[in-house]
Symmetry: C2
Subunit: 365 residues, 2 copies
């Protein structure tokens, strides 16, 4: 755990949205900048599925964060102006309580005894962090990918949660294509004998299942167009080829293997299952019977919704649906459809384009 | 084996494109209609990866075929006018010799001892069937999906192979996205312990790997748009739900499970691996250094290329590339971009649209 990470103890018990409760649960978070005296300059960032709270380099932890080019002094989300908070999601494994944490009742890891996790729980746990920091109302709530769904859950469950909403490459609910991909990822993990019904042991993780799930994820995080430019039909050098029949031969295959190897021991498999399912479950339509009715319940002074033309996993029409629904509900909403070729991951890699859009929006708030 | 299936014995040895040879190999095929006296009314259909030679109902086998709404008397590929041949690909398991066949040298199934399979082998074996039927030059060569790639291989390797080419939802080579998906499918099969390096036994097939590979395939055969209309966020009825944690809950998940269950014992896993890799390997650019140079070598009096806007696996730009290359090579070429929402599988299911395009083209030939 880095020196910049702080822990906030949740109310105990913390009641979960779909039933069950947690005791002595904590949320890990980091902050950048200073909360002003009026306590009205706070921006809370909710993350995608796998990142932790370390969104950017910090005086106490100079390692680059997952959104380092967007968050920091003088950057699009400017820590010299805003008090920025980033939380590790409830249910994750980067400091917050999740299925890999020890259940104080049993002294053993929760594993599948962790209660059903929903993005409402992620949102309300993050809200407790804001309250704990003395913030009644956020200046802005920011969420890319799953974080955008959590931000919607936050805004739907906490009246006057934030003055402004910035929703990036996200959706009002998961479309069946995304559900299919995530369901298959979960099945790949569960099909690994080492998963063992969730009772895997240290040193014997379901690494094969996690590898396959990550590779599948990677096919949906970028775009066919980017890969065509980047890899084309280039081959792995003969000297580096594994001679096993059907082993990787094209560069794109070794790229997938490399990406998976970086992830596979870095994220707890049960946490992955819980967070992945929470994304499939979340639905703005649960609030009022339709996506439009749900979005119309949200209160904010303004919103911006950003999406990318090449996003397979959270297709642009879903960001458009959010923007239209917020507008129909009376919130002045900017909608930016960016021509990035990096697909869903563009917010992490096509940062000049995103920085410009985000900085431009925050300047108006 | 159905009563309509015929076997053609290949020259022995049959030398393979990438080295090695087969002895006593056969190709399974079916025919519809009659070859005329001039032997100039033959249409040869090369198939996608998994279908067999039974493209349509036949007097000796009235079961519907995989392209039943396109092939038959009075249909778009009209058996009352044309002598239609459909071959089961070399390397497949539906009557033709493949990795599941017995190697006459050992008396044991080839399994991974089968020589490397390329689409050039599929094409040249099909050409032997045409020659065996007394056909020197086809009226038309037709290929959807992998069959279109095999048809390109045919036209590139047999001078004056066919008067006309009809290429459907296919590509001059596999793009990295498609390679990634297929590589992952192959890895899913190989990762199943029951695959056992290819030496699986009857009754203990790598069904888990095949199930996962088929589910992954299904996510790329249709389109997100179709699934959104068809499934939305509908759920499996409570009474039908498996109570196991993380078991299918959304209709799209049970659809994938159903589709996989229909396929998993119906196709030999090693044949799947060989044919899948052959698709990744094939490249028109191998003929002359670039796709354009390769296409410019093809001779025909006309061509039609059909594609679908929502195809993820063989994106429309690849059909456009073929059409432009054939045109640049001097072949009058029609290009039809169909607005089907069924993605890559549209040629199998949006048949009225395809029938109209195909019938219209064949009427001009």
């Amino acid at each position: 755990m880095s020196n910049a990470l702080r822990l906030h103890r949740l109310p105990s018990p913390f009641r979960m949205h779909r039933g069950g409760e947690l005791h002595e649960a904590v949320i890990a978070y980091e902050t950048w900048g200073r909360l002003n005296a009026a306590r009205d300059n706070a921006i809370l960032i909710l993350t995608g599925m796998s990142p932790g709270a370390h969104a950017a380099a910090h005086p106490d932890d100079p390692n680059p964060g997952w959104w380092d080019e967007i968050v920091g002094p003088g950057k699009a989300i400017d820590s010299s102006r805003w008090f920025i908070i980033c939380v590790n999601s409830l249910g994750s494994c980067r400091g917050s309580t999740g299925p890999a944490s020890v259940d104080p009742a049993s002294g053993q890891p929760y594993r599948l005894q962790f209660p059903d996790l929903s993005l409402e729980d992620v949102a309300l746990a993050a809200h407790q962090v804001a309250l704990g920091l003395g913030i009644e109302r956020l200046h802005a709530l920011v969420g890319p990918s799953m974080g955008g769904m959590s931000a919607l859950a936050y805004a739907l469950n906490v009246a006057s949660a934030a003055e402004h909403l910035l929703l990036v490459s996200t959706a009002p609910h998961s479309a069946p294509f995304s559900i299919a991909i995530r369901s298959l990822q979960r099945e790949l993990i569960r099909s690994d004998p080492a998963w063992n019904g969730g009772d895997y042991q240290a040193g014997n993780w379901p690494t094969q299942g996690m590898t396959l799930a990550r590779k599948l994820g990677m096919t949906t995080y970028r775009s066919a167009r980017e890969w065509r430019q980047r890899f084309g039909r280039s081959r792995v050098a003969d000297a580096e080829r594994d001679p096993t029949p059907f082993a990787p031969e094209f560069s794109v295959e070794s790229y997938l293997a490399y990406q998976a190897s970086r992830f596979v021991n870095d994220f707890d498999p049960n946490c992955y299952l819980y967070l992945s399912r929470a994304m499939d479950w979340f639905d703005v339509a649960d609030y009022g019977g339709s996506v439009a009715a749900g979005l119309a319940r949200i209160q904010a002074r303004s919103a911006m919704v950003i999406g990318v033309e090449t996003d397979l996993l959270f297709p642009l029409e879903q960001q458009e649906e959010i923007a239209e629904g917020l507008r129909d509900g009376g919130i002045p909403t900017l909608f930016a459809a960016l021509p990035s070729i990096q697909g869903h991951d563009a917010f992490l890699v096509d940062t000049p384009r995103f920085a410009k859009a985000i900085a431009g929006y925050l300047a108006t708030t």
